[in-house]
């Protein structure tokens, strides 16, 4: 640390540059991780809210909710702790001013997937909905009359709930009757039995006894098969991994150049009998200090940026994940320094001292 720190103090410009590069890389990593996270939530929030273990869809559904059409009688709850039906419809909702893509979920108000109301009231009468918070940020209010693209029927927002976006669109919650009316018109005959899925809670999905034509999948698999979800995640994750490699390479090059410049100094110290281990340790310690500084500054910048981002930008920081990424950045930087360590070990003190 002694050598490492004094060298940094005496070559401020040089090491500021190194830290600067690390700040940029780590800032990008943190921001991308925030973006990945935000986009993930955008897709899955509403599903996570269920706290369900699995979902039952038809075999032909291709794991897509809207393509799974089944009847309430198709599953009798054998092998699960709790289950409930879910129907859904996607639509474009407008309050006259604003238009938004939305999902309309029909849920049983007494079931475990009924969302908590954070503002206003739960739906009671036909045509009433609870809307996701983000609609409020977009200018929708309680009492707003919503016209839909696909039907002449209208809906009314009676309450809001938080964290209820599904596949990148806010969700409106209502009851089955309302959804039936939207789908089949006001004079639809009797009760429709058609739903899209059963949401289940159970300790063991293997114990669920469902009809041949149905499939039981765990919640995570369902989410991963949301359109675009996995592709998006993979892209961002790949970018983050590339940044890890880039930061290792950049730092390795920087340190290598610095080490080459210092060969004679290292040689002189080795001539005196200072061990390669001590010198290598000092380079590693230096890398650690530099990457720690870079990562901390990058982290601070990312968090500050996050505070000023408009709500429309889907960035959500997961601090634990950021901490892990920060640690990885530091570790790969230190790995990058190992090339220099090898150089130091190989320095022949005799060559360095001349004479």
């Amino acid at each position: 640390m002694f050598l490492a720190w004094n060298e940094i103090k005496n070559n401020k410009l040089r090491f500021t540059l190194v830290i600067g590069v690390l700040v940029l890389i780590s800032y990008l990593v943190f921001f991308l991780s925030g973006l990945a996270n935000g986009l993930e939530q955008l897709n899955r929030e509403a599903v996570d809210k269920w706290e369900a273990d699995g979902i039952i869809l038809t075999e032909e559904s291709d794991l897509r909710l809207q393509q799974s059409v089944l009847s309430k009688e198709d599953f009798d709850g054998s092998g699960v702790d709790e289950y409930t039906e879910l129907s859904q419809l996607s639509a474009i909702a407008s309050n006259g001013d604003k238009k938004e893509n939305v999902y309309i979920f029909a849920v049983d108000p007494s079931s475990f997937i009924m969302p908590d109301v954070t503002e206003g009231n739960a739906f009671v009468y036909e045509g009433e909905v609870i809307a996701d918070d983000t609609l409020k940020e977009d200018g929708f209010e309680i009492g707003d009359e919503l016209s839909l693209s696909s039907t002449d029927e209208t809906l009314e927002i009676v309450g809001f709930t938080d964290k209820a976006r599904f596949n990148a669109a806010p969700v409106l919650f209502t009851d089955q009757d309302t959804l039936d009316t939207l789908q089949y018109g006001e004079f639809a005959e009797g009760d429709s039995d058609a739903i899209n899925a059963f949401i289940i809670r159970t300790d063991n999905l293997n114990n669920v006894e469902a009809d041949e034509a149905l499939q039981v999948i765990d919640t995570e698999t369902f989410i991963e098969n949301l359109p675009g979800y996995t592709e998006q995640n993979l892209t961002l994750t790949l970018m983050i991994y590339f940044l890890f490699i880039i930061s290792a390479v950049v730092l390795a090059i920087f340190l290598y150049v610095l080490t080459i410049q210092k060969i004679s100094i290292f040689g002189v110290m080795k001539a005196q009998g200072i061990s390669s281990g001590y010198l290598a340790g000092s380079v590693v310690a230096q890398t650690f200090l530099l990457s720690l500084a870079g990562v901390l500054i990058g982290l601070a910048l990312a968090v500050i940026t996050g505070l000023f981002l408009p709500a429309a930008v889907p960035v959500a920081f997961n601090y634990i994940e950021m901490l892990i990424y920060g640690i990885i950045l530091i570790i790969v930087s230190v790995i990058g320094a190992l090339i220099s360590v090898q150089t130091i070990v190989r320095i022949d003190p005799l060559k360095a001292i001349g004479g």
């Binding site: 050598l3 200072i274 004479g355």
Partner: protein, 229 residues
Amino acid sequence: MAILELKKVQKTFGSGRTKVEAMKETDFEAEKGELIAVIGPSGSGKSTFLTIAGGLQTPTGGEVMINGTALTDLKEKKRAALRLKEVGFVLQASNLVPYLNVGQQMQLLDKVKKGNLQKEEAKELYQSLGIDHLIRNFPRDLSGGEKQRVAIAKALYTNPSIILADEPTASLDSDRAFEVMKMLKEITKEKQTATIVVTHDTRLIDDCDKVYKITDGKMELQERVHDIL
């Protein structure tokens, strides 16, 4: 017992037509408390001798013993440790770390080795070398002579039993050069080190206990100092 001993040491570089015999077979001993001068023209093998004696390079043949330990048996790591413990180098080129100030150069040695000079002893050393006012200076702010004196201080700081100095007075004016030689002599006697000084300057060898002369890699003890003068 000799603290430093070279037995039939010999060094050649290259082979065939480019072969250089930098050191012909040499026996050499240095006792504690001895100040030894090695003189010879440029390219005669003085630095080669000194670096072999200090374990910085291995001889082509023969054996170097420091304080009873044969160097050829040791791995580089052990040799480095032995150098740190027993040998103080004062090199031809400056051996200061550019980003450490004078005081920190010594602190570095405290980090890697115990039993170095105590504060008071160090202060005395700095005073006698005339560098006590330069402790906070970085090498870039020192003159060539000052650097050399700091290098000497650095070599002495670890309390070595052997001091190997390659032209330690080269960049000093003659007053300072005499003073440095006087100091090396004092330290040699006081601390009972074996001190070997390579020099061009024959005026500086008066105080030495023994004088060797190297010509073309052949090292010969000068019976009487005055023979050379």
